[in-house]
């Protein structure tokens, strides 16, 4: 499978998924795909390539999350209606986008998932009861056996991906790894587990390996920076590699297992455990012998805006080179990105 092939495959499946009545879309990594799957729906993470905002500006202000805005733009442009979608209160933009989707009739079956910031036993219980409501809405009943099966399937998918990513001898191109991960979030899990992956021509030839920190970035970002001589060895974003940790399944109470997992895994910038997060970052950085950290700073993403000062301070302290690229998901500043990356690479030599 060529780099181009995997990208084509991604686009082909996405087109099908958008039409599929059984698709259940989501935007946030706190959404438990296992419950969607156990309810005989197909979980699909909705992410698109960068695009210009031509229609969405009429329904939402400029300063709403551009990642979510691309979805609004796409729905309006393609006259999509009545899709199954799970929203979360992950951030303020995501809370309001939920209303926009509802109001514009973009939704058919939908759920608004409340995620607590706290992770104490009572919060795990609270989140569990939210998950229960979701399961009931989607499936009509709580089917623990089915849920156990789905958890095992997704764990297998995560394991497969983890092994590929961590197989040193393979040293894969970051764009290839990125599309593989995106496929994992898009395809039917059974198909992903059985996917025969061809690694020919996917070897990374770039010496400069970096750590990417972000919430969400457009699909073409990784390819673009790769073309400029940057290989992303570790993707620390909302849907990045850290999400490949496995669910510790208690077969008698899988809902608690899921609740614990999604609330307590390393997760994203929304988590209030910055020290642990920064510790993990530094450790990975050192273990992987990387050259620097790149932050894709998604404009108008509050959790990221307020997180950056802390990460910046830590990287300074550790004398780790940092390049911040601010973009609004449109990649309109490609020229600027090129100049900054060239300067950054020059500084490293």
């Amino acid at each position: 499978m060529h780099n181009i092939d995997i990208k084509d495959l991604y686009e082909e499946i996405l087109t099908k998924k958008i039409k599929d009545e059984k698709s259940f879309f989501y935007f946030c990594s706190y959404v438990p795909v296992e419950i969607i799957h156990a309810s005989s729906y197909k979980p699909v993470r909705f992410i698109l390539d960068s695009m210009q905002f031509l229609h969405s500006d009429e329904v939402i202000p400029k300063y709403i999350c551009p990642y979510l805005k691309t979805a609004v733009e796409f729905f309006i442009k393609n006259n999509l209606k009545e899709k199954n979608i799970i929203f979360t209160d992950g951030c303020d933009s995501s809370r309001r986008i939920f209303e926009v989707f509802k109001e514009l009739n973009f939704t058919k079956k939908y759920f608004y998932l409340k995620i607590p910031f706290n992770e104490n036993p009572q919060d795990v219980l609270f989140f569990k009861s939210e998950l229960q409501k979701l399961f009931l809405l989607l499936n009509g009943k709580i089917d623990l056996e089915k849920l156990n099966e789905s958890i095992n399937l997704y764990n297998s998918g995560r394991k497969k991906l983890y092994q590929i990513f961590n197989n040193k001898s393979q040293n894969l191109k970051s764009s290839f790894k990125f599309y593989l991960n995106s496929l994992f979030q898009l395809m039917d899990i059974e198909d992903f587990i059985n996917l025969d992956i061809d690694f020919t021509n996917q070897k990374n030839e770039i010496q400069n390996k970096f750590y990417l920190f972000s919430t969400v970035y457009p699909l073409n970002f990784i390819e673009y920076i790769e073309s400029l001589g940057i290989n992303i060895e570790y993707d620390d974003s909302c849907f990045g590699e850290k999400n490949l940790s496995l669910i510790e399944l208690n077969k008698d109470d899988p809902l608690t297992s899921i609740s614990e997992y999604y609330l307590k895994r390393e997760g994203c910038v929304r988590k209030r455990e910055i020290d642990k997060k920064l510790e993990n970052l530094i450790q990975r950085y050192k273990n992987k012998n990387l050259k620097g950290v790149i932050i894709y700073n998604l404009k108008y993403c509050d959790p990221l805006i307020f997180f950056i000062p802390m990460i910046k301070e830590k990287l300074n302290e550790e004398k780790i080179p940092l390049l911040m690229i601010e973009d609004d998901f449109t990649m309109n500043i490609k020229g600027q990105i090129r100049t900054r990356i060239e300067a950054f690479l020059e500084m490293m030599i």
């Binding site: 009429e58 329904v59 939402i60 202000p61 300063y63 709403i64 999350c65 209160d89 951030c91 303020d92 933009s93 809370r95 309001r96 986008i97 209303e99 926009v100 109001e103 514009l104 608004y112 409340k114 607590p116 910031f117 706290n118 009572q122 919060d123 609270f126 009861s129 209030r272 910055i274 700073n297 404009k299 108008y300 509050d302 959790p303 805006i305 307020f306 997180f307 950056i308 000062p309 802390m310 910046k312 911040m324 601010e326």
Partner: protein, 412 residues
């Protein structure tokens, strides 16, 4: 006398604030400078006592966001600081320009709510003391969840978030009320407060009393346009900060008395067009509102003045507070905002609606375009004013005046 507090260095202010014996004098000086009315005097007294308590040696500084119930903190003999309110006040004293400038060094972005950027600058500059504890709810927005976390990491203070569920179910009420009570118990132990529950009942009583005056005020305002609603955007500071204290009770009682007197005297403002105002408004000095008055347009009611909660139950205070928090109707979702607006339109015979969009406020502005459309479909003229609560440079005053002019012409 012309006195510009923005020219005074925070370190000198701190020195002055740490000397308790100076407070009576400061109070008299402020009365001379500001020449406040009766209710203004209460808020000055409130502010000075808040400063005295929080800037004195060995005091425990508690910061809370606008939705954290202040009753439980007054019950613990503390005087919680609301940095978001302080941020708005600082704009009124022209301090926000420098605070925003200072916060740019920390945040590297101007794309989030300026209220929160500003408050980070205020702490950095020393206008706000370093907290010992910071508490925030996850409503109305997540800005405080993030900015308070940054404060606790950069400047100190133990950090707590109170998660507010979406729906009022028995399970959710129990979850939240337990959280509130745990917070209360934790702090009463930390601060070594004896009899905290007895104090709590007192605070709850005061809060209930205040609520009663607030409702009476709203009822009086239904009858006649007795007061310019812009003032209520400022009084909101007291609603957020002083519930559960005698200051809150006295403030709203006096306000009720004043309005009642005006009503009895047959007074009414020269109103030609009645406006309902959603969200907050600019807190820096601006003649934008004078422009409205000149056109005979007055704010007759505001989203933030809605008293949407029931009286607290003294037998179950935490559960009643939880109920209030879950059912909040200001800065709420599209559906709730629409409903409360329609109710206000009918109750206050409103001719037009103004939605103020704060730059970077994803939660407030996110569905505002759709709200505007729904209101227009309902048959009420509605306009969105884009601007900023504390950053004057981000408030296109002239452009907004022109837009409002067109809007007022539409209202008949």
């Amino acid at each position: 006398m012309n006195f510009n507090i923005s020219k005074v260095k925070p370190v000198y202010l701190k020195k002055i604030f740490s000397k308790k014996f100076l407070y009576p004098l400061i109070y008299q000086v402020l009365l001379q400078i500001l020449r406040p009315d009766d209710i203004g005097k209460v808020s000055i007294k409130f502010s000075l006592d808040l400063i005295k308590k929080n800037f004195s040696k060995n005091s425990k500084v508690i910061m809370v966001n606008v939705f954290t119930p202040t009753e439980i903190f007054f019950a613990l003999n503390t005087f919680p600081i609301l940095p978001e309110v302080a941020s708005a006040v600082s704009a009124n004293f022209s301090i926000s320009d420098s605070a925003l400038f200072e916060s740019d060094d920390i945040l590297f972005s101007k794309d989030s709510c300026s209220v929160h950027r500003n408050l980070i600058g205020l702490i950095k500059m020393g206008f706000l003391p370093t907290p010992n504890y910071v508490f925030t709810t996850d409503k109305p927005c997540h800005s405080a969840v993030h900015s308070f976390y940054l404060i606790s990491k950069f400047y100190g203070g133990e950090y707590f978030v109170i998660d507010i569920p979406e729906e009022e179910t028995e399970e959710n009420l129990n979850y939240l009320s337990k959280k509130l009570e745990d917070t209360f118990i934790f702090l009463s132990k930390e601060l070594k407060i004896k009899n905290p529950y007895k104090n709590l009942l007192n605070a709850i009583n005061l809060s209930n009393e205040t609520r009663k005056y607030m409702i009476e005020i709203n009822e009086l305002r239904k009858k006649k346009v007795l007061i310019d609603g812009r003032k209520f955007l400022g009084y909101l500071g007291m609603t957020f900060s002083a519930l559960g204290s005698t200051y809150g009770r006295d403030f709203f009682k006096l306000l009720r008395d004043n309005l009642k007197k005006l009503y009895e005297q047959g007074f009414e403002l020269p109103v030609k067009k009645k406006l309902y105002w959603l969200h907050l408004g600019p807190y820096f000095k601006t003649d934008f509102f004078d422009y409205l008055y000149k056109k005979g347009a007055y704010i007759v009611f505001e989203e933030t003045s809605n008293v949407y909660w029931d009286e607290f139950d003294l037998k179950d205070p935490f559960k009643s507070i939880a109920k209030k928090l879950i059912n909040f109707k200001i800065f709420s979702n599209l559906e709730e905002r629409y409903k409360t607006t329609i109710k206000a339109i009918n109750d206050y015979k409103v001719d037009g609606v103004i939605i103020f969009n704060q730059w970077g406020c994803r939660q407030g502005a996110g569905s505002s375009y759709l709200l505007r459309k729904k209101l227009i479909d309902y048959g009420i003229p509605c306009i969105i004013i884009d601007g900023d609560l504390v950053d004057e440079s981000n408030f296109p005053k002239e452009q907004n005046k022109t837009r409002v002019e067109g809007f007022l012409e539409v209202i008949e």
